[in-house]
C-alpha cells in the first residue's frame, strides 16, 4: 500500500505504526492530515484508536480484509474505507475524497457512534479505554467497580482509583452488559458483583454498600432494577 501511496502526487508518508498504541502516539505527535487505519491490530482495534484520539483524530480511511459489520457501519456513517488487497485506483479515489474533505472541512463522525455501529451483533463492551495524563489505560469491564457521572464526563472507579472519560451515562449504559451492570441511580452504574448489601435509607431511598465499604445512593427505579436482577 505504501508503494502505491508513494506514487500519488502531493502525498508524504510521515509515519507508520505496527500496533494500536503506536498509532495513537504517532497520530498525536505527527498530526497528519489522514490516517489509514487497519481494524485488526495488535493492542487496539482501529475503532479504539479513533476513540482515544477523540477530537484530535485526523481524517481516517479504514482498511480491512473482511468485516461485514464494520463495512455496514462505514456505509451508514459515510466513513471511507479500503478493502484488502487494495487496488491502486481505489486508493487514489480514497485520497481524492480525503482532499475534498480537507478542503470542505467535513466533520468526522463520532468515534463512539461508529464503534458501536460496527460492533458485531450480540457483542458487548469488553473493555474501556481511557487516556489520562498522556497514558492509555485499558480497563477490562469486569475490573470496574462502579461508574459515576460528573458534569460532562464519567468517572470509572477501579480498585480505589478513578479514571475520567468524556462520555455520557446513557451511551455507556447502551453498550454494557445489562446483566452485570445496573444503573442504580441517575449518576451511578454499579458492577453487581461488587454489591455487598442494600441498606434502607429513609423512605423510598436506599444505599448500595459495596464490598470495599463504599456507599452509593440508589433511586427507586434503580432499586427495582437491581432487585429484579439479583432476585
Amino acid at each position: 500500500m505504501i508503494e502505491h501511496l508513494e506514487q500519488i502526487p502531493n502525498i508524504e508518508i510521515v509515519g507508520q505504526a505496527s500496533n494500536g498504541f503506536e498509532a495513537v502516539k504517532l497520530a498525536e505527535e505527527l498530526n497528519p492530515d489522514v490516517m489509514f487505519l487497519d481494524i485488526q491490530m495488535p493492542k487496539l482495534t482501529g475503532f479504539e484508536v479513533l476513540e482515544l484520539l477523540g477530537d484530535r483524530a485526523p481524517i481516517v480511511v479504514f482498511c480491512t480484509a473482511y468485516d461485514e459489520f464494520a463495512l455496514r457501519a462505514f456505509e451508514v456513517h459515510a466513513v471511507d474505507y479500503l478493502l484488502k488487497p487494495v487496488e491502486p485506483a481505489r486508493l487514489a479515489a480514497a485520497v481524492e475524497r480525503v482532499r475534498e474533505r480537507l478542503a470542505n472541512r467535513t466533520p468526522s463522525p463520532s468515534a463512539q457512534a461508529l464503534s458501536v455501529a460496527a460492533r458485531p451483533p450480540g457483542k458487548l463492551l469488553e473493555r474501556v479505554l481511557i487516556r489520562q495524563e498522556g497514558r492509555v489505560h485499558v480497563l477490562p469491564i469486569e475490573r470496574i467497580d462502579f461508574v459515576q457521572a460528573q458534569d460532562d464526563y464519567l468517572e470509572f472507579a477501579v480498585g480505589g482509583k478513578r479514571y475520567r472519560k468524556q462520555q455520557t451515562m446513557s451511551d455507556l449504559e447502551s453498550q454494557i452488559d445489562p446483566t452485570r451492570f445496573v444503573r442504580i441511580h441517575r449518576s451511578f452504574i454499579l458492577n453487581i458483583e461488587r454489591l455487598a448489601r442494600i441498606d434502607l435509607y429513609g423512605k423510598d431511598s436506599w444505599l448500595a454498600v459495596l464490598s470495599d465499604g463504599t456507599k452509593l445512593p440508589m433511586s427507586r427505579t434503580g432499586h427495582a432494577k437491581l432487585k429484579e436482577l439479583i432476585g
Binding site: 500500500m1 508503494e3 505496527s18 500496533n19 494500536g20 481494524i39 485488526q40 491490530m41 495488535p42 493492542k43 487496539l44 482495534t45 479504539e48 480484509a65 473482511y66 468485516d67 459489520f69 464494520a70 478493502l83 484488502k84 488487497p85 487494495v86 458485531p120 450480540g122 457483542k123 469488553e126 473493555r127 485499558v138
Partner: protein, 351 residues
C-alpha cells in the same frame, strides 16, 4: 398460562358462549320448571358464568391426562370424579346465589327444589361440553406446537450447515493472503508465486477433505502446515511453529478441518497480537487409551476484543462429539498469557 387468558378476545368469546348457555338454561327453567321469568334470568346467567369459570380448571387436568397416554378406564374414572366434584361445587354456588337473590325476610320456597334435577342435568351437560372443548383446544395447540418444533429443528439444521461452511473458509484468511500476494508481487515475485502455490494447495486440500466424514490425522496436519506456511509469509519471523506428532497417532481418524480452525485462532487471536510474535505448538500423542491433540499459543493479555462470532471453537467441539460421542472431549484452558485447546478422542482408524 391458560390459553383462554392469552388474548382478551378469546376470553370474551368463551364467556359469551357461557352466557348463551345461561340464557338457554333460563328459558328451560321458565318453560320446563314454571319459574318466574325475571328470576330465571337473574339466576341462570350468573351461575352459567360461574360454571364457565369453574370449567377453566379442566385445562390443567387435560394437560395432565393427554389422550392416548393414560388408559381409557382410568381417564374415565378421573373425569367422572372431577365432573361430579365440579357439579357439586356448582350446585352449592347456585344454591348460594339463589339465597342471595331472595328478598330480605323471604324464605326459600320448597317448590324451588323442584328445579334441582333440571340444574343437575344442565350442569352435567355443560361440564361434559367444557371437557370436550378443552380436549379439542388441547389437540389443536399440540399440533401447532409440533409444527413449530419441526420448523425450529429445520432452522437449527440449516444453521449448523451454514456454520460448518463458514468455518471451512474464513474470508479473513482469504483476503489477507491475497493482500500479501499483492504486496509481494512488487518486491519479491518469486515469493508471490510460491504464495499462490501454497494457497492453491491449501484450498484444494480443504475442499477435498471437507467432503469426508473422517480423515487420518496426518492429512489434517499437512493442511495445517500449509496454512501456517501461508501465514508465515504475512507474519514473517513473528510466527513460529512447532509440531510434535507421535508416529503411532498419525493414522487415527479425526473430523476434517478440526485442527485448522484452532490453529487459525492461535494465529489470529494469539500470535497476531503479540508485538514480538510467538510460537504455535501442535502436538498429538496417545494418552490412557485415547488420543490427545493439543494446540497451544501465547497471547497478549491486553489484546483488543475479538470481532469474531466465536463459532470456530464451538463448531470443533460439536463435530468432535458427533464423530466420537461421549468419550471425546474438548478442553479449553484460557490463561492471561496463553491459550490451549486439547482434544481427547478415542483412537479410531478412518473407514
Amino acid at each position: 398460562m391458560h390459553p383462554i387468558f392469552v388474548r382478551r378476545s378469546r376470553l370474551i368469546l368463551y364467556l359469551s358462549v357461557w352466557i348463551a348457555f345461561g340464557l338457554l338454561l333460563a328459558v328451560v327453567l321458565i318453560f320446563g320448571g314454571q319459574a318466574p321469568a325475571m328470576w330465571s334470568f337473574e339466576f341462570a346467567v350468573p351461575i352459567a358464568l360461574a360454571l364457565g369459570l369453574q370449567s377453566l380448571s379442566f385445562w390443567y387436568l387435560v394437560q395432565a391426562l393427554p389422550p392416548g397416554q393414560v388408559s381409557l378406564w382410568r381417564m374415565t374414572l378421573i373425569w367422572c370424579v372431577a365432573g361430579v366434584g365440579s357439579l357439586a361445587i356448582w350446585l352449592i354456588v347456585a344454591y348460594g346465589w339463589a339465597l342471595f337473590l331472595l328478598a330480605p325476610g323471604e324464605d326459600y320456597p320448597d317448590s324451588a327444589m323442584a328445579t334441582l334435577p333440571l340444574l343437575i342435568f344442565a350442569g352435567a351437560i355443560g361440564i361434559i361440553l367444557a371437557v370436550l372443548g378443552h380436549y379439542l383446544v388441547g389437540a389443536f395447540q399440540r399440533s401447532l406446537d409440533a409444527e413449530k418444533r419441526a420448523l425450529e429443528l429445520q432452522v437449527l439444521a440449516r444453521e449448523a450447515e451454514l456454520k460448518s461452511l463458514r468455518a471451512q473458509l474464513d474470508p479473513h484468511f482469504l483476503f489477507n493472503s491475497l493482500n500479501s500476494v499483492a504486496a509481494l508481487i512488487g518486491q519479491n515475485p518469486a515469493a508471490a508465486r510460491q504464495m499462490c502455490f501454497l494457497m492453491a494447495q491449501f484450498f484444494r486440500k480443504s475442499l477435498t477433505l471437507a467432503r469426508e466424514r473422517a480423515i487420518p490425522l496426518s492429512e489434517e496436519i499437512t493442511l495445517v502446515e500449509t496454512f501456517l506456511a501461508i501465514e508465515r509469509v504475512r507474519f514473517g519471523e513473528r510466527l513460529r511453529t512447532k509440531f510434535d506428532v507421535a508416529e503411532d497417532v498419525r493414522d487415527v481418524a479425526v473430523p476434517p478441518l478440526v485442527l485448522q480452525p484452532l490453529v487459525e485462532n492461535a494465529v489470529h487471536h494469539g500470535v497476531a497480537h503479540m508485538l514480538e510474535g510467538g510460537e504455535v505448538c501442535v502436538s498429538a500423542r496417545r494418552r490412557e487409551g485415547l488420543v490427545e491433540i493439543v494446540v497451544e499459543n501465547p497471547c497478549d493479555p491486553d489484546r483488543p476484543p475479538s470481532r469474531g462470532t466465536g463459532v470456530g471453537l464451538s463448531n470443533v467441539r460439536s463435530r468432535i462429539e458427533t464423530l466420537a460421542g461421549t468419550r471425546a472431549s474438548v478442553d479449553v484452558d484460557a490463561r492471561e498469557t496463553s491459550f490451549r485447546v486439547s482434544i481427547l478422542l478415542p483412537a479410531m482408524n478412518p473407514a
